[in-house]
């Protein structure tokens, strides 16, 4: 059924369709409507889930971890400072091999108190052992909730579903809300191998000595690696059932492109329009949309970009002292490629500053005009 809904509600519908059993959340702008709608669904019985109000995001993630250990399909949503507060428990969720899905609505971290979009909050959690999926549209936000649970429960690692503040979270778009019966085929109920049961209690997450800790982390590493294939498989299966295919990457007019824009999130849609304009003027420009940040699809990125001459990576994030995080990973993917393309790392649109078609034109102008970036990072549209 087609509905015109905001990105936040698209996530809520996805959670409802996934038959999530426990939701714990603490409200934060711009995530609020996700849990607002879910609390209503729980209250009026449309979703048979326990909704736990919690006093902080740290406790939110602890509650969700507890629910997941007990075998429940668990969900939460947060943003920015809320995610930062969860940080410790994110490790327990991943190390505990719990198939939790958490939506993070990208919001700038303070100070400079700011509620607008920026990806630094989620990208800063890259080493917690969570998979990360980035959405471009509201449809993608709904669909990836279902895909996230399917993959998470397969590889036993949690998934962070990431969407832009306001550009997605609060913007209405037509979204196809799939039939429950079809979703149930894609996402059957989940029975974990290890489960906390009061009648037969086990000790979870106790002391592990140096003798075995490394093996546990290696098994996580293998699980993360296997997720690349699982995401691909699940995306294909999703496409067969629902008509919308999702892969690790989404190339656009990439075949013969000399200059490639690498994007993620809602900037992608804007960039596509600009690519079309440059193509119409006869320039060989293409686009690579990143969907999966963890596990980072190094091989797929290498394959997609190996034949380009220049790669312009748009980072709406900043790792101070490094630069753009997507650019860093992209460079890593291209290491060792014979005659690799030149990577242009752009920092753009921080603090929710609008990235317009004009901004993307400037990015391409710069990339075409220079043989190499003039600096480690190129800061776009900064009032110097």
């Amino acid at each position: 059924m087609e509905k015109v809904i905001m990105g936040n509600h698209a996530v809520s519908f996805g959670v409802q369709l996934a038959r999530v059993q426990v939701i714990a959340a603490y409200p934060i702008t711009p995530q609020t409507q996700i849990v607002e709608m879910l609390s209503e669904l729980c209250a009026d019985g449309r979703l048979a889930a326990k909704f736990i109000k919690v006093e902080s995001e740290h406790s939110v993630m602890a509650a969700v971890v507890g629910a997941s250990i007990a075998g429940a399909r668990a969900f939460t949503a947060t943003s920015s400072h809320g995610l930062a507060l969860m940080h410790e428990v994110l490790h327990w969720a991943a190390g505990g091999r719990l198939p939790i899905v958490a939506a993070n609505v990208n919001r700038t971290l303070g100070p400079g108190w700011n509620v607008w979009t920026e990806q630094t909050d989620s990208l800063a959690q890259r080493d917690t052992g969570w998979m990360q999926l980035y959405c471009e549209t509201n449809q993608e936000a709904l669909d990836l909730v279902l895909l996230a649970y399917r993959v998470a429960e397969k590889v036993l690692l949690p998934v962070m579903l990431v969407l832009d503040a306001f550009f997605l979270s609060h913007t209405m778009e037509p979204v196809d809300v799939p039939e429950q019966a079809l979703v149930d085929r894609f996402l059957p109920s989940f029975e974990p191998q290890y489960k906390l049961q009061p009648g037969e209690p086990c000790s979870f997450y106790g002391l592990v000595t140096p003798e075995y800790y490394m093996e546990l982390r290696h098994k996580m590493h293998l699980a993360m690696q296997s997720a690349l294939a699982e995401i691909t498989a699940a995306g294909n299966e999703f496409g067969r059932l629902f008509g919308r295919y999702y892969g690790l990457l989404e190339p656009y007019r990439l075949e013969d492109a000399d200059v490639v824009l690498v994007t993620s999130g809602s900037i992608t849609g804007t960039s596509r329009v600009v690519v079309d304009e440059w193509r119409a003027r006869g320039h060989k420009v293409g686009l690579l949309k990143m969907r999966v940040f963890r596990p980072f699809p190094f091989a797929a990125v290498r394959q997609a970009l190996a034949h380009a001459k220049k790669v312009a990576v748009l980072d709406r994030d900043i790792s101070q002292g490094l630069g753009g995080i997507w650019a860093s990973e992209t460079k890593g993917a291209l290491y060792g490629v014979a005659e690799p393309p030149v990577v242009f790392p752009f920092i753009i649109g921080l603090g929710g500053r609008d990235v317009t078609p004009e901004s993307i034109h400037k990015v391409l102008d710069y990339t075409v005009a220079h043989d190499a970036p003039e600096d480690d990072t190129v800061w776009m549209e900064v009032k110097r």
Partner: protein
Amino acid sequence: MTYQISFRNEGEMPDLPVSSGTTLYNTTGTWRYVRPVYRNKTSPCNVACPAGEDIAQYLGLVAKGKYQEARLRILEENPFPGVCGRVCPHPCESECNRAELGGSISIHMVERFLADLAGGAPVQRLPSNAPAGATVAIVGSGPAGLSCAYQLARRGYPVTVFEAWDDLGGTMRLGIPAYRLPRHVLDAEIAAIARLGVEMCTGRRLGDNLSTADLRAFSAVFLAVGQQKSRALEVAGEDAQGVVAGLDFLRRVNLGMPVEVGARVAVVGGGNTAMDAARAALRLGAQTVTVLYRRSRYEMPAIAEEVQEAQDEGICFEFLTTPVRVLTEDGAIRGLQCVRMQLGAPDGTGRRRPEPLAGSEYTLNVDVLIPALGQEADLAFLEHWAGGGLAQTLSMANGLLETDAAAQSSQTGIFVGGDSATGFGTVAHAVGSGKRAALAIDRYLHGEDLNGFPALDQHVHAAPRDLDPAVVRFADLNLAYFEELPRPEPKQRPAIERKRDFAEVTDGLDEQQVQQEAHRCFSCGTCNGCDTCWLYCPDVSISRVDHSDYQVNYDYCKGCGICAQECPRRAIVMEEELKWKK
């Protein structure tokens, strides 16, 4: 029990650190050095109730909808819930911890609701344990005498009550007007006591047609003759016609005898008798009723609600004034000379002493003057006491019959109580005093030691619950569980209407409001089955037998104390384990 688990490779390992068997073998209770113990503590309302009612418990029963159980729980201690639910100054509510968060619980209204319930079960008799041949005489059918008769009759004693007047009830009938206490309520509660087999002999006045020799026929005697003598004004002219003492006035009104109030009534005094007399005079047709009080409103001993109701009905109040002379004409009152007062330094009661203002005399036109300055016991019968076959007369102390904690007078076998021995002056105190005497008489007639009764200013219980005497105060509660909720106020008949008759002024609360009150109750110190401990125990060591009984599994309880800390009402204590004690 420990053994080493070795993995040869990561494939043999689980994906996450998890024990490979249950952890039940690990009795973590051995780590404990303090243990949680369910122990109900005392609520401030229970401490404050002069009748010794277990308020915390019966409010809990009301919250569960168990109205009859709640009513019977009151009746264990007090046969007059209908009376006390209306006329008690409810010291329980003054102590109520809820006062800090929306207003104290309207305890008296819950009590009144339970008493007024239709189809209530009859009061419960207890298994008879009266020694063969033991009989008890009670002098006075006020709340003390009838409370004593009730407790003894329930225990199987043949009890005879002697009442000087023709009607039973003492001050409840002679002093309190019907607009505060409808007579059918009083009649029903007295009738329930009579149905226990108590013999009621009215018209028998001690020292008149009831002699001490008559009393000697009984194994034990309880004297509860009350306080019926009004204090005198001690001003010139107070024996004039038209001057009638407050208690005498109220007695005539309450017994339906003819009373002339005239057009202008002045009442002197600031207590409840003054309020009752003023409001009764108004209802009998007085055009103006003025209350004269020598201090300010703040110092008035009357219940604040009574003062407000009197004011609403149009009673005038003149504060800081006192009569100095009754002006008479042909032996009848025609006016009152008064003097203005001012408040000086505090006296022994802590209230500021009123002092006359020189040159401030003024005159008030008055047709009827009702002095209501307080009352005392009329103990004239004592003059005949020793001559009636009893060895010696009873000792006095401060104008009251002397008594010890076991209600014994100075003579063996003669017990005393109520206002003539304690002077507390409320129905609830009298009920408690009568109960104390009954329990003492029961022991006395069994030849048991009478030591160990609580002091006179503490209450006695007929059916005590196992309670830690520690009182739970507001600061002890876990306020995270309580929100501010308002106290419901009952409806009252409009002043313009109610001042014309003696029908009841104040309505009761309806069931919904009573439920609201029972649920607003913190249940200080008394477990009410809220499940908080069960929910919070991180070791799943508390099991719920039903919603009112929990058990701690000490094999696994590590003694973290979260249950005790979290308990909203402090019904769990942490006790040091003996093995750790030095």
